[in-house]
Symmetry: C2
Amino acid sequence: MARMISAEAQRPSRDALVEAAARLFREKGYERTTVRDLADAVGMQSGSLFYHFASKGEILYEVMRRGIDDLTMAVRLELKACSSPREELITMTRTHLRTLLSNTQASLASLLYEWRSLPDEQRDQVVTLRDQYESLCREVISQAMENGVVKQGDPRLMVRLWLGALNWTSQWYNAEGSLGIDDLAEEIVDLILVHD
Amino acid sequence: MARMISAEAQRPSRDALVEAAARLFREKGYERTTVRDLADAVGMQSGSLFYHFASKGEILYEVMRRGIDDLTMAVRLELKACSSPREELITMTRTHLRTLLSNTQASLASLLYEWRSLPDEQRDQVVTLRDQYESLCREVISQAMENGVVKQGDPRLMVRLWLGALNWTSQWYNAEGSLGIDDLAEEIVDLILVHD
DNA sequence: GTCTATATCAGGATAGAC
DNA sequence: GTCTATCCTGATATAGAC
């Protein structure tokens, strides 16, 4: 039981597949990634995928479900160690950016751009998870507003603007550049959230 | 020459095709829209498309090129009538949101999510146009910073956060809701840009 | 649980008549 | 400039052996 990164059951091939899929979906997009690409990435033949997943669409669903799940848990965990509203804002922002921009956790990117490819039922489930995450973040922002750390306004709108600003970083952030993710998080909080 | 909405040459079938494509690409995504879908939407047979465009990819390129072009021109035009930095910020935001969220101008949505489907060369061209648009907006924000209307900070970062916040509205804005686009624009500017 | 082989089909694109 | 007919490739998914 020790040394599990994620809270998933241990099914190595399946897990490797989901991770490879997350990366490939981010690089090429879901539709342009073939089941052969996925199989190649884990050293399998394409037919063998379908022992683990009933369809390609199910792989996408699993990628998204894990992505949002891991993010939510990571943020919840990190928030526990915070002792001020501003620290909460920075921590939350940093965790979101790290998860979104890290190469090992590419799942979130699919979430942003590929949701139209999900069947209705699974899309609804993902939307529910996404809404729960948004609520968690909104709570933190609401608290910070009550403490005068964030400018007064509609927290429902504020959290969406903040999320949009963060998610858009996937379009322009350059890991080779001089700006580190943690510094970026702090700058973002100071620029658009904190009220001085 | 009178009554041209856009500055394009008049090729009715071609134009109708681009407009239908913009809408379908937004609804279903580029890869999931077939050339038969496109043909149906304008009452043609699929073979006839290829008289107007060499490939499906060229239609996507044209959708994007027009989208960013029209947006840039619209913003430039509207800015001329402004008489204060804050008014410029609101006008720019309003024009961006209107263009992004209007049903008749669906082109921008493709720009956000489908750029991976473009061939390299055309992607470069679109990126250039997008950078020009970003520069235009950055100028306005820089000016507003110099005037103390926007909080001091890196305008390059600020414009990207602002763009992200705006573009993300396409994921949640509901035209049937009580919040109009113009009111939304004003709220956004006051929440994340204006420094009071 | 993975392999090989293959069924099946959808979608982009072309040819040639009108 | 549009239609009909069709080619052809590539992709998902299945069957059955090992």
